[in-house]
Symmetry: C2
Subunit: 207 residues, 2 copies
DNA sequence: GTTCGTTTCATACGATCGTATGAACTCTAA
DNA sequence: TTAGAGTTCATACGATCGTATGAAACGAAC
């Protein structure tokens, strides 16, 4: 069953280093040094750096996908056709919930998510699509019922916008978070701002 | 004055390689190989890889900033207080204009822009802020007049959303552009979709 | 206490990285 | 034609990269 300690320590350290330097900019040695474990531990527990990247990404993304699924389940229980605002909240909410804004680990995770989304290494997108695409499909059909005038393609564009706004905002907030002091205030505000911004955007008349 | 050929060939090749592999994932050798020039040419023309990154980023960002400035100038000539839709168009338009959607170089540039925005290497943000921040300030004051009920902080959030939606969309379109065939259609649509989405979002009531 | 699967360790390998160097080449001006 | 600045070239250096290896350490079962 493998001692969970070393494995977890590596995952935690990798999350930090990957967020700081990107996937290819991070060295296995930097990760094992931060984790306080032996260099060879990565090979033993994960096989290769590529597999470590996959494990780290999975650990960050999975709870978000689960929360998005649960949120949509709860909405569909209450009403067969949820409102746009509720769908937006259920979709982007987990990005705020699973990524605490004020602590260091939170900003680290948001950076990591964007690293995952935008990393040029295409390996990511292959193994990620499985569950992530399923969640997005569920939400898209729900959005299609709530916004019958919007075409499927345009809806996909808008859903991408949901993720983009929240993810980029968290990154930017983190970048200045190291300089500014009282970003707790803007941290709480951001969620309200994002909801107002995104709900209005989703409801925009079809173009 | 240095033969502009080699320098430009390096910049062109670096744009491709950086977009494909990220800054730290790209090797100088890969760039010079693609450019068909000698390895040492990077050292001679740019000094170091870091300086090459700066030069590439500057070449991509600068025309966008210029176009954004020109667009705002033109709006302010016509009316002292431009409308929201016009401001949005002038702000995100250059991202479409300077980055053709259908050709390969276009999607490459959009990827590169996102690489610049999100790259964990913080060196970027230092030398970039100079002119970029000035443009954003001009637009923020213009938006503040058009949207007097929105606080300055929330407005900054919303302007970040403008860039995020467009940039992420271009990346995603590029990612699937390699698979799909007829994305010229969605390429043209995207601009209209972005405008509808973003204008509605900017006009959202304050929260 | 000895055995044996599991985990950690120090260490080494070949590849590749960014950069530096000095010779060879090109081209213009005298 | 020659002098010299500007540019390109082949090549090498040390550092660091991901990965592999085999010995040491550990812990539970008998």
């Amino acid at each position: 069953m493998a001692s969970p300690d070393t494995r977890t320590q590596i995952l935690d350290a990798a999350e930090v280093i990957f967020a700081e330097r990107g996937f290819s900019g991070a060295s296995v040695r930097a990760i094992t040094d931060l984790a306080g474990v032996n260099l060879a531990a990565v090979g033993y527990h994960f096989g290769s750096k590529r597999d470590l990247i996959a494990a780290v990404a999975r650990r960050v993304i999975e709870p978000i996908n689960v929360a998005q699924n649960v949120g949509l389940d709860r909405l569909l229980e209450q009403a067969p056709e949820p409102q746009v605002a509720d769908l937006v909240s259920a979709f982007v909410g987990p990005l705020f919930d699973e990524i605490p804004a004020d602590d260091i680990g939170g900003s680290r995770k948001s950076l990591l998510i964007m690293t995952i989304i935008t990393d040029p290494a295409k390996e990511m997108r292959n193994w990620m699509g499985s569950t992530e695409a399923a969640v997005r499909d569920r939400y898209r059909t729900a959005f299609m019922r709530a916004l019958p005038n919007i075409s499927s393609a345009e809806l996909e564009f808008r859903m991408r916008g949901l993720l983009a706004v929240v993810a980029v905002d968290r990154i930017e907030m983190n970048n200045r978070g190291t300089l500014d002091s009282s970003d707790e205030l803007s941290g709480v505000s951001t969620r309200r701002w994002a909801m107002a911004f995104l709900v209005a955007a989703m409801k925009a008349p079809s173009q």
